[in-house]
Amino acid sequence: MALGKMKRHSKQFVPPKLHITSMMDMFTIILIFLLFSFSNKPETINIDKNLKLPESIAKLDRKESIKLVLSLTNLTLEDEVIASVKDGKIVGLDPHKLKESNIYQKLKVYREEEIESEDEGEARKHVIFLCDKRLSFKIINTVIKAAAMAGYPNFQFAVLKK
């Protein structure tokens, strides 16, 4: 009896119709948005969420370079925090004794390693500065000087595309 009822029910069962059109619309919008933000070489830079980069009309893409991040709180070289920033000054970095600073010593090591690889035909690297746009020139200039003394007089400023 029960089995017969079930049979009758299954005969009456009509699969519900899905409204695919609205879903299609949604997917189309998502697809277009993603196509616009498509990049063949996604950036793999880890940056502090508080870091605000300046905007610029620059069109040059970055190449392989040594990454130096100067935020309102830290100075980071290749993802390693090497000094903290307090009251607009880098702690432990005396502008008159740059050669004794941690940043100079570390960049010097990079440069020496690079000189060896340059002999093997590798191109010269740049230092790329990712600086917070609210910082003053005073603090940036100290880091630039240290980098130049370590053998990197040409450098790049990272900016966001306007």
């Binding site: 697809l31 933000s37 020139f137």
Partner: protein, 168 residues
């Protein structure tokens, strides 16, 4: 007659397109595009600090004369001047100007751009510009000045930007 009626009935029926394969395609495409999506575009500006170089020995022609533009940024103004190895400084002094900033306003970079355009028009071979900001100048201002100095309406002005601290 009956054939015509059959045709009319057929054409009035709704034709349903099978959207499921398209949906499948979208479902494959979306994760792929999400993985390669880039939500901020990082660009770079090439710059350097001043380096010592040997002066050119031959006197160039008037048209090939290169001047170096110096842009000094301080708290309240931007001072523009030019220097050159092959032109007397008195002659270049007429290119010196000062663009003042109004209180609580941004630097008038449009005026700077216009002046730089005039210098470039007079000395088209020039490509170098030195920016000398005061210590208190904000990094964002330096980048905006660099933008103005490097390009104007898509035309290159002084693409070699050198950043220097004030000496003395």
């Amino acid at each position: 007659m009956s054939k015509l009626r059959q045709y009319r009935r057929k054409s009035s029926e709704e034709i349903e397109i099978d959207l499921v394969p398209i949906m499948n395609m979208f479902l494959v495409l979306i994760p792929f595009l999400l993985m390669s999506a880039c939500f901020f575009h990082l660009k770079v500006i090439n710059t350097s600090i001043p380096v010592l170089s040997e002066a050119a020995t031959d006197a160039p022609k008037e048209k090939d004369v290169k001047v170096t533009v110096i842009v000094e940024i301080d708290k309240n103004s931007i001072h523009l001047s030019t220097v050159s190895d092959s032109i007397a400084q008195e002659k270049l002094d007429r290119w010196s100007t000062e663009v003042k900033k109004k209180q609580n306003e941004e630097y008038p970079l449009d005026n700077v751009s216009k002046h730089l355009e005039r210098i470039k028009e007079r000395y088209p071979a020039s490509t170098t510009l030195i920016i000398i900001p005061e210590e208190s100048v904000i990094y964002d201002t330096i980048i905006q000045t660099m933008d103005v100095a490097r390009y104007s309406k898509g035309v290159p002005l002084f693409p070699n930007v050198v950043l220097s601290g004030k000496v003395g």
